[in-house]
């Protein structure tokens, strides 16, 4: 079981901040493909990966990164702090 976290407009489009999923996805991109296939709101949130960032266990990562051993995956738009 992996925890999925969503922030900013990703959270708003999907309609929840966090959920647990059971998945055999090998990479983040595989997980995104599973999520897109679920429902329209996921397809919409993940329509353009270039507008998204991903963190694995609270470290910024890439969409082709492996998911083995990962407990927490967060999806969000580019950050706008400072």
């Amino acid at each position: 079981m992996i925890d999925l976290l969503y922030f900013a407009w990703v959270r708003e489009r999907i309609g929840l901040p966090r959920e647990g999923v059971e998945t055999d996805a090998a990479t983040v991109a595989d997980l995104v493909a599973e999520l897109r296939a679920r429902e329209e709101r996921y397809a919409l949130a993940f329509a353009d990966l270039s507008a998204l960032r991903v963190a694995l266990d609270q470290e910024l990562s890439e969409f082709d990164a492996p998911l083995a051993g990962v407990r927490e995956v967060a999806f969000f738009p580019p950050m706008t702090g400072g």
Binding site: L5, A8, Q58, A74, F76, P77, M79, T80, G81, G82
Partner: protein
């Protein structure tokens, strides 16, 4: 090194005074304060979302990178989240070093990385609704100079 991620308002000049009082042997202190700007004249609030846990980690990693690159005597980062009014301080950084070039470079480095690599997202709230602030290409480009 002090890193604070907090919903509470803070007084940048009071924090700068505390920072300065805790530093010894410095020749140069630099502070940066970022404030909520009301560009449209209709901003009622700025809402800042963050990723608890990752935020502190990311800021600490950025501050440690700065400390590894420049001879810093001390570093301070304060960043708010939650709902802020126009004109309120959003965040500040302070750096203390022997020489001005190091204090300035470290403060600018911290700001550039906090902008694009710390997990905060700003939303502008007006009477007409709310809109997420888009990341600027120039902020991403600013990282390339380091």
């Amino acid at each position: 090194m002090r890193i604070a991620v907090q919903p509470a308002a803070f007084d940048p000049s009071a924090e700068a005074g505390l920072f300065a009082a805790g530093v010894s042997g410095a020749g140069a202190l630099v502070t940066f304060t970022g404030l909520v700007r009301d560009l449209s004249g209709r901003l009622s609030a700025m809402e800042i979302e963050h990723y608890p846990g990752m935020t502190e980690r990311a800021i600490r990693a950025i501050a440690e990178e700065a400390a590894a690159r420049w001879q810093l005597i001390d570093v301070l980062v304060i960043h708010r989240h939650g709902r802020l009014a126009p004109g309120e301080p959003i965040m500040m950084v302070a750096t203390a070093a022997a020489h001005r070039a190091e204090a300035f470079a470290a403060a600018e480095f911290l700001m550039d990385y906090l902008k694009s690599r710390a997990p905060f997202w700003k939303k502008e709230v007006t009477a007409d609704g709310a809109e997420w602030v888009a990341a600027k290409d120039e902020d991403e480009a600013a990282l390339w100079r380091w």
